[in-house]
């Protein structure tokens, strides 16, 4: 039996409409934004509404009335009678079980909804290809509290119907990475159990950008700080969502190459960890060779203003196999020498022979040289070749051979920003080309139908301020605009969503809004949200998200369990 909590109010000034209504309720009744209520409607039907705002009013006509009621400003005064007050709740209609969307009537009874009704009201019943994305709580901290798993249609997040996920929220308070990892964990598990159908498969490419956060995702969380009780509770939460509570499987780690002879390190993993991982065959050090990777050099110039397109001209010259200057070069050393030479020489040389390099000023060559030297000199990652017997690889080669359910974690945490961009851009391009079928002829290339790329700090590569010429932005736009049908899915996270290129966010089917600040919610990206939701975004708890997906009738406030893989102390 549903609990009756109030009645609908409709007045001349505050009418009920097809999508909004107001009801009064007891001031002490605990209700929250996003809670669902059930309203009696015509022809025996029931409408369901989502709470947007709750206001408390009394019969005091003005602030002055209240002030006078304390003997003109004596805060100590206790009145023997409480002022008559009530709460009125503004809600929006989400659903009517007989499709009757005429406004609900004044005086209509308003009830709390049962779990089944909540599921129906939010459109969470009969979801095809269900993929769990968290759980929601209704009527929190009351006797009527309900916890429900929330599932979305995987075809609306992994394609082909809709693809890409954007997660936004303040660092440290929104747990963006944890949420993305939770979703990917759920996806991996559901694909491994075959619940998504035999013809569909998935793999993951994850970039570790901070510390060694994602460098042990195949190891279980020991809940060292939280204790056994918490561990049990989290495992139960996973179980209630239909998940195993096991860490990721089929994980491969890739760290930038460094020689064991030097003290310099390119990862936050300890020497022992690296050795252990290598022994287990799950870690490779990646290298870039000049012959194979010169085409990716442009990624180093992603953030560099190039209004005359001289850098672009130089790069196209370099990748031209028949170029008189760069045609035969096979190592980074030779390459740098050649660039050095070109930036020294006063041109034209006067040999009477017209050279392409004549068109590029020596100043441009010097700029190019500076950038190239900074990036490749003294960096062992830029090497002549990868020695596969020594757990080394070319990253692009490794990614080409990605197979179903693989999780590739690429560690770029310790790289400077421009090299992070280089690695990311190169990897995205490889995946994109792989799904385009560019490597189909090569042996051992059998990509899964869907590849998910997860990158934190998306704003570094696809912000509104990123130069239009940026090759990485181009890659990301390609992925977000065409990836849905190709099977390349981008899971991006950033602090401020308003910073991200509109064509990127615009193409994401799913949006997760974590805790953010008021400056952010004041931007026009959040203009469509009711003000209560905006304010709520500024005080969401860690692990709470507002989720938007085409199959949900409205925004949902969800929670997700703590990470199930090893956590490193901050």
């Amino acid at each position: 039996m549903n609990k009756l909590i109030g009645r609908v109010i409709a007045t001349e000034k505050w009418p009920t409409t097809m999508d909004k209504f107001t009801f009064w309720t007891d001031c002490n009744l605990k209700l929250h934004a996003f809670d669902i209520v059930k309203i009696e409607h015509i022809e025996g039907s029931y409408s369901y509404g989502v709470i947007e705002n709750i206001s408390h009013i009394t019969d005091a006509e003005s602030f002055l009335t209240s002030f006078i009621s304390s003997d003109f400003g004596n805060a100590e005064v206790e009145a023997p009678t409480l002022r008559v007050g009530m709460n009125y709740v503004e809600a929006s209609i989400s659903f009517n079980d007989k499709n009757l969307y005429t406004p609900v009537h004044s005086g209509a009874k308003v009830y709390l909804a049962s779990p089944d009704e909540v599921t129906k009201a939010l459109g969470l019943n009969n979801i095809q290809n269900p993929l769990v994305c968290g759980f929601l709580k209704m009527y929190e901290d009351t006797d009527a509290e309900i916890t429900l798993p929330v599932q979305l249609n995987s075809k609306f997040i992994l394609g082909p119907e809709g693809a890409h996920l954007n997660i936004s929220g303040i660092s440290g308070l929104a747990s963006k990475t944890s949420y993305a990892m939770f979703l990917m964990k759920a996806i991996q598990e559901q694909f491994m159990t075959g619940s998504q159908g035999d013809d569909e498969s998935v793999a993951f490419v994850i970039f570790n950008v901070k510390g060694k956060d994602l460098m042990a995702i195949d190891t279980a969380n020991d809940f060292e700080d939280d204790g056994e009780e918490e561990r049990q509770r989290v495992l139960e939460e996973y179980a209630s969502l239909g998940l195993s509570g096991q860490p990721f499987r089929q994980v491969h780690y890739y760290i930038p190459y460094y020689s064991n002879m030097t003290e310099k390190r390119s990862t936050y993993l300890s020497k022992e960890d690296v050795e252990d991982y290598i022994r287990d065959g799950i870690l490779h050090k990646f290298k870039y060779s000049y012959v194979d990777d010169k085409e990716s050099l442009e990624m180093l110039f992603a953030d560099i203003d190039d209004p005359q397109q001289t850098m672009e001209a130089i790069i196209s010259k370099i990748i031209d196999a028949n170029d008189p200057d760069f045609g035969g070069i096979s190592t980074w050393e030779e390459f740098r020498d050649k660039v050095d030479e070109l930036s020294q020489r006063s041109q034209p040389s006067g040999r009477g022979q017209q050279r392409a390099s004549n068109e590029i000023s020596v100043l441009s060559w010097r700029k190019f040289k500076r950038i190239i030297n900074k990036a490749t000199k003294n960096d062992e990652m830029f090497a002549n070749r990868a020695n596969v017997n020594n757990s080394e690889c070319r990253l692009a080669d490794a990614l080409k051979h990605i197979s179903a359910n693989d999780v590739c974690v690429i560690d770029v945490a310790k790289l400077p920003e421009e090299k992070q961009a280089f690695v990311f851009g190169d990897a995205v391009r490889t995946i994109y080309n792989l799904k385009l079928g560019e490597y189909d002829g090569e042996s051992g290339v059998n990509p899964p139908t869907r590849i998910i790329i997860f990158i934190d700090e998306l704003n570094k590569y696809a912000s509104k301020d990123t130069p239009k010429s940026s090759p990485i932005l181009r890659e990301i736009l390609d992925v977000t605009e065409r990836g849905r049908s190709l099977g390349v899915v981008l899971f991006g996270a950033e602090q401020f969503r308003s910073n991200i290129h509109q064509r990127v966010t615009g193409n994401c089917s799913t949006h997760a809004y974590g805790r953010t600040n008021t400056i952010e919610t004041a931007t026009k990206d959040y203009g469509s949200l009711p003000s209560t939701y905006k304010n709520m975004l500024t005080r969401l708890e860690q692990g709470d998200y507002l989720i938007q997906n085409p199959i949900f009738r409205s925004l949902l406030k969800i929670k997700f369990p703590k990470p199930i893989y090893k956590q490193f102390k901050k």
């Binding site: 019969d59 005091a60 006509e61 003005s62 002055l64 009335t65 209240s66 006078i68 009621s69 304390s70 003997d71 003109f72 005064v77 206790e78 009145a79 023997p80 009678t81 409480l82 002022r83 008559v84």
Partner: protein
């Protein structure tokens, strides 16, 4: 009274005119009530301070500030029930009756809605306890051509059977005749006065009901809006036993008036002394005076104790009389009649009333300085139950 009107499309006034042999003029219908605003009630009462009605007679103001504060701190509360009656009066028609000499005289027909409500305070929250509504009509006494007893009662029943009323579940409770004797008073005012009397009767009935149910005692007082100076009926005055029951009903009832006539307050020399109330300091009360209503020359044996309390600082109110309430309590026991009310009880009740000064209805009611919030809420409750003026006038 031979005809029956089962499906009559006729209006109530038409049927009333037909039945009483009058002629309905279908006059303009309008409300006779005045807007609620502070006013000074220049009624004909006389209170003389010379006779005190408390056990510790004093001629000075009594400060209650400390006692009020102490009671508030202890959250002691004995004022539990609040009662308010109100009426809305409308002129609904003019009827012409043939008077002596064949000339026709026009008399107004006055209708009223009476509402009496009682609210209870529990844990600082006011909740409705009882409500009573009556719809009455006041007609000139000559409407009853024969002067038979029970004529108007039967007529009221007949009118209530009309479909226009039946459909809405509305019953005309009484038809009350007003006097048509030559008098400077307007007929409309006479009708209004009759409806007012009926309202007072409803209030008395409700008090009697509360007493009968044993709801009032020394820890559960009833605060009634307005004066307690009910005129006891002739039979009550005549019958000692009835008189005693009537008085007993009021043992735990306080009448608190927002409006009073300051002129009636006379000093020991019998001269009016309104300044005595005007100068009452904040959170003080006046001495308790005794008052015996005098009704049409018949002096009843019912005496009232009357005193005044200032709730609001004079500098905060518009006039010197805003912020002062008049309190009445009936003298019930023989002892009280002889020696007056226990001054300690007066002080305690006054202190409790002082604590009722907050919250205020400032902004929504011009009489905020004199209003007690629980009474104000009761009044609001009663008024919320009224039919709107339009709906009500349409009935006739």
């Amino acid at each position: 009274m031979s005809q029956v009107y089962p499906d009559s499309p006729k209006s109530v006034m038409q049927v009333l005119a037909d039945e009483t042999g009058g002629k309905s003029y279908k006059a303009h219908k309008y409300g006779l009530d005045h807007a609620e605003r502070p006013f000074i009630d220049y009624s004909e009462d006389t209170i003389i301070w010379e006779r005190t009605a408390e056990t510790n007679p004093t001629k000075n103001y009594v400060s209650l500030e400390k006692q009020a504060l102490d009671l508030a701190l202890r959250e002691e509360q004995y004022l539990t029930y609040f009662l308010d009656g109100s009426r809305r009066v409308y002129k609904v028609d003019d009827h012409a009756y043939i008077a002596s000499g064949g000339r026709s005289v026009i008399y107004p027909i006055v209708a009223g809605q009476i509402g009496v409500g009682c609210c209870k305070r529990e844990n600082k929250i006011i909740k409705p306890e009882r409500f009573m509504r009556e719809i009455v009509i006041s007609v000139p006494d000559i409407a009853d051509a024969d002067g038979r007893p029970g004529y108007f009662k039967a007529m009221a029943m007949k009118l209530s059977e009309l479909p226009v009323l039946k459909r809405m579940g509305i019953e005309i409770k009484h038809i009350i005749p007003y006097s048509t004797k030559t008098d400077p008073e307007k007929f409309e005012d006479r009708g209004t006065a009759k409806i007012q009397d009926e309202m007072i009767q409803c209030e008395k009935d409700m008090v009697a009901e509360l007493v009968k149910k044993g709801m009032l005692d020394s820890e559960h007082y009833l605060v009634k809006d307005g004066s307690l100076e009910y005129r006891p009926t002739k039979d009550i005055i005549a019958d000692k036993r009835k008189s005693m029951i009537f008085k007993n009903n009021y043992n735990y009832v306080l009448g608190v008036s927002k409006n009073f006539n300051p002129e009636i307050c006379r000093d020991v020399n019998g001269k009016p002394n309104p300044g005595y109330i005007a100068e009452l300091p904040l959170y003080h009360r006046t001495p308790v005076a005794c008052y015996r209503p005098n009704y049409k020359g018949v002096e009843s044996d019912i005496r009232f104790a009357v005193w005044y309390i200032r709730l609001r600082d004079r500098s905060r109110t518009r006039t010197a009389f805003d912020g002062v309430i008049k309190v009445e309590k009936m003298l019930v026991t023989q002892e009280e009649n002889e020696y007056g009310i226990d001054s300690d009880l007066v002080n305690m009740l006054s202190a409790l009333l002082i604590n009722e000064r907050n919250p205020v209805c400032y902004g929504t009611d011009l009489r905020w300085a004199n209003h007690l919030y629980p009474v104000y809420l009761t009044e609001k409750y009663v008024k919320s139950k009224y039919l709107s003026a339009e709906s009500f006038l349409h009935l006739f």
